[in-house]
Structure formats: C-alpha cells, structure tokens
Amino acid sequence: MFKTLIIILLSSVFVDNYVLSRFLGICPFLGVSKKLDQATGMGIAVTAVMLLACAVTWPIQYFVLNALNMGYMQNIVFILVIAALVQMLELLLKKFSPSLHKGLGVYLPLITTNCAVLGVAINNINDGFTFIESIVSALGVGLGFLLAMVLFSGLRTRIHDANVPAPFRGLPVTLIAASFISLAFMGFGGIVENIFK
C-alpha cells in the first residue's frame, strides 16, 4: 500500500511529469516562468488547486456520475466544479490570508482553465485510483509542475542574459529550451518502477 503510494508520487513527479512528458499545462509553463518568484507562486497555486480538485472530483465521479450511470458527463461536470472551486479558493484566500492572496491571487483565475488540473482529475479516474491514491497522485503532479516551473525559470533568466541569434529570440529559444528539459526528463523513464525491486 505504502509502496504503491510512493511509486505513484515519484512517477507523477518525474516519469509522467505533466508539463514535460504529457505536455499539459504548457500555457502557464511558458507564460509565468520568467521569474523565479512568480514561477514558484504559480507552482504552489497549481499544486493547491490540484489537490482540492481531486479531493472533490473523485467523490463526484464515484458517488454521483457513476451512480447515475452518466460517466460521459465527466468532462463538463469536472470543468464546472474546478472553475467554481478556484473561485471559492480565491474568495476565501482574500478574506483569510491577504498576503497569500496577493502572492497567488493573480494566478488563480489563470488556473481555472488550466488543462493540467482537469487532466489530473480525469486521469486519476481513468487509472482507477482509490481516493488516497488520487490525492497522492495530485500532490505528485503538482510538485512535478512546481519542479518544472522552478527549473525552467532558472533556465529562462540565463536565456534572458544570453546573446541569442536574432531569429531565435523570444518564444523560439524558449520552446527549444523547454524541449531540452523535456528530453532530460525522459531519462527518468523506467527508473521508478524498478527502484523497489
């Protein structure tokens, strides 16, 4: 049991990194990774929302959708629930933790439509995870996103100061750098499953 959870956590951080292996959530990955503090803020906000979203969507799937035999409504219901959740989180943060709201507030509306959040909610159901497993998986995916953001923001500050050939300036060189990180993460493939053998 514990071993399974560790494997789920590690594989969702490294092997199946949502940004670098599954290419979900690319928009904030490219958009908010210019500075380290912003990238960290975004990463933490996404992790929090993913945890919350999975904790809510799992019961909805099993106790509402499956019970009523309408699993095909999964996408629409999940989008609805996640969007409302993010709004609620923003309102509550504003009230109870203004400083945290100041730090994460600008990113929260962006996460409403983040495909990585929806992706992890749907994939948890598709993989047949139990409730605990899907929470751990969401935590792992969030941490993986945070890791990718932090790594990439470091790279981008270097790119910012580098003398890039004119045709590659801006987005092209950013995408090339992202592809290199993605290649590097391919190296994790097959490691996690074999750690506990």
Binding site: L68, I76, A84, M88, L91, K95, D161, N163
Partner: protein, 277 residues
C-alpha cells in the same frame, strides 16, 4: 430520459455551486476602502515605484491609510498631488519638476575602450568587470540598463552614452536607481547648465581617459559670480539654488564638460523625433 437526468443533475450541481459561491462572497466579502479607490483613480498607473512604494496600488493604500504625503507621485506632479490632497483633505506641498540627466559626455569620439567586452550585455554586468570596458571607470557604460527600466521609453543610447529625451521624461528617477555608476541625476526642469562628467580622478588621469572629462581645474569655481559651483573630488558640482544660468562657467571651461544643456539634452544633429523610431 437519460438526457433529462443528465441535464437535471448538471443543472443541480451548477445551482449548488452558484449558491455556495454567492454565500461565500457575501459572508467573506472584504470591504474595500473607497478612499483608496479614489486615490488610485488619480494616479497615472504606470507603477514606476518613484514614490517608494511597490506600485500605484500600494501607494494608494498607503495614502488612504493616512500619514503619507500626497505629493510623492513624481510622474503625476502637481496636478495629481493636488487631486489626492483634495480627496484626503490635505493641502499638497509645492512640487519640484525634475528630469533625468546623464552626467557623462564620453561619446566614442572622446574616450576609448581599454578592453573588448563580450559578456552579458548589461551595464550592471559590464561594470562589475574592472569597472567596465571603457577607459573611464566613472562614465556611462552605454549598455542601456536605464533605457530598459524607463517606463516612458525616454532614454536611448547614442554613440556610447545614454541620452534622455526630456520631453518624454516623467522624472520618476527609476533610471537613476538602475544606473550602476550612479551618473544619472535628477535636475530641476528649468536647469540650463550642467556638468556633463562624473570622473573623480585627478586632472591628468581624467584627461587621459576622456577628452571631455572634468579635470577639476576650479576655473568655473572662481569664475561663477554667484558662487554656485564647487569642485569636490576633482569634479565640479552646481548648486541649482544659486545658479542663474548666466553661462560664464560654460565659456571658461577648458574641456567643455560644463555645458548649457537647454533641455532636451540631445547631441547635435539628433532631433527628438529621431528617437521615436
């Protein structure tokens, strides 16, 4: 029938979430200070940070909180100070208009490089390496760190030194903070004479580094009828409270580092319109 159930279930979920959101936003609403919003509406909103706060929102919050002067917004100048003063019921103090001025005339024809520099293209980085690639370690490095931070796009680098288009300059002083050499000064807008040099070396060394350098000969100090000029550390400094812009110092200066600047301070043959491209 299935469709009807699906429709009803999704509608019920949406309704539930909607009610929940409405309840939360009602009970956990954060009251916003109307004074703060009024003050914020007066501010220019360019978030330059010249007031000493993180941005216009931050400054508005500080003013609304009380105890903060209404005349700190430099780009907004007197009109904004008056408007904010009217909102919070305080008479705004008079406001000095200032513009940024680059105290260096070491263009490519006057000075030379002591080394080739191919590192990171910023003044901050270049300045860390033996004081920069130029022969004069006090002068403008010309990589345009000031131009990058200027919120009004008023600075450009021509012939190795930064120039300020004073018709666009807001006087926020962000460039002065960004300059690693600290050679951008905020001068009163009606200043007509300025020392275009920051070199504090002795005359001989300064002259070797740059033809246009101030050699600290004190000729201006003796000539000035108002006693407005003093030479400190081999560099002339003008006291603008005493200066009458008579121009005597400009005529007597042997190296031409004292200049009538007649803002906008641009090199000869360059028009303000050229900078817009």
């Amino acid at each position: 029938m299935d469709i009807l159930i699906a429709f009803l279930v999704v509608a019920a979920i949406a309704l539930l979430l909607g009610i929940l959101l409405a309840v939360i936003s009602h009970f956990f609403a954060v009251p916003e200070d109307p004074t703060q919003q009024q003050v914020r509406a007066c501010l220019p909103g360019i978030n330059c940070g010249a007031c000493g706060y993180k941005g216009c929102d931050d400054y508005a919050a500080a003013v609304a909180g009380g105890g903060v002067k209404p005349n700190l917004c430099i780009p907004g100048a007197q009109s904004v100070a008056d408007a904010i003063g009217a909102i919070i019921g305080v008479e705004a103090e008079p406001f000095d208009d200032v513009v940024a001025f680059v105290a260096c005339n070491g263009h490519c024809g006057a000075t030379h490089n002591k080394a080739d520099y191919e590192g990171v293209q910023s003044c901050e980085a270049a300045g860390m390496l033996f004081g920069g690639p130029g022969a004069c370690t006090y002068g403008c490095l010309g990589f345009g760190d000031c131009a990058k931070v200027c919120p009004a796009d008023a600075i450009c680098t021509i012939d190795g030194i930064a120039h300020v288009d004073t018709s666009r300059c807001l006087g926020c002083g962000v460039c002065a903070k960004a300059c690693p050499k600290g050679i951008i000064h905020m001068l009163p807008q009606d200043a007509e004479v300025a020392v275009m040099c920051s070199n504090k070396d002795k005359g001989v060394d300064a002259r070797k580094a740059c033809q246009n350098a101030c050699i600290g000969c004190k000729k201006c100090e003796k000539t000035c009828p108002n006693g407005a000029i003093t030479v400190v550390d081999n560099l002339a400094i003008i006291d603008y409270d005493k200066c009458t812009a008579c121009g005597a110092c400009v005529e007597c200066c042997p190296t031409g580092c004292l200049k009538k600047v007649f803002f906008p301070n641009l090199p000869e043959g360059v028009e303000a319109e050229d900078l817009l491209d």
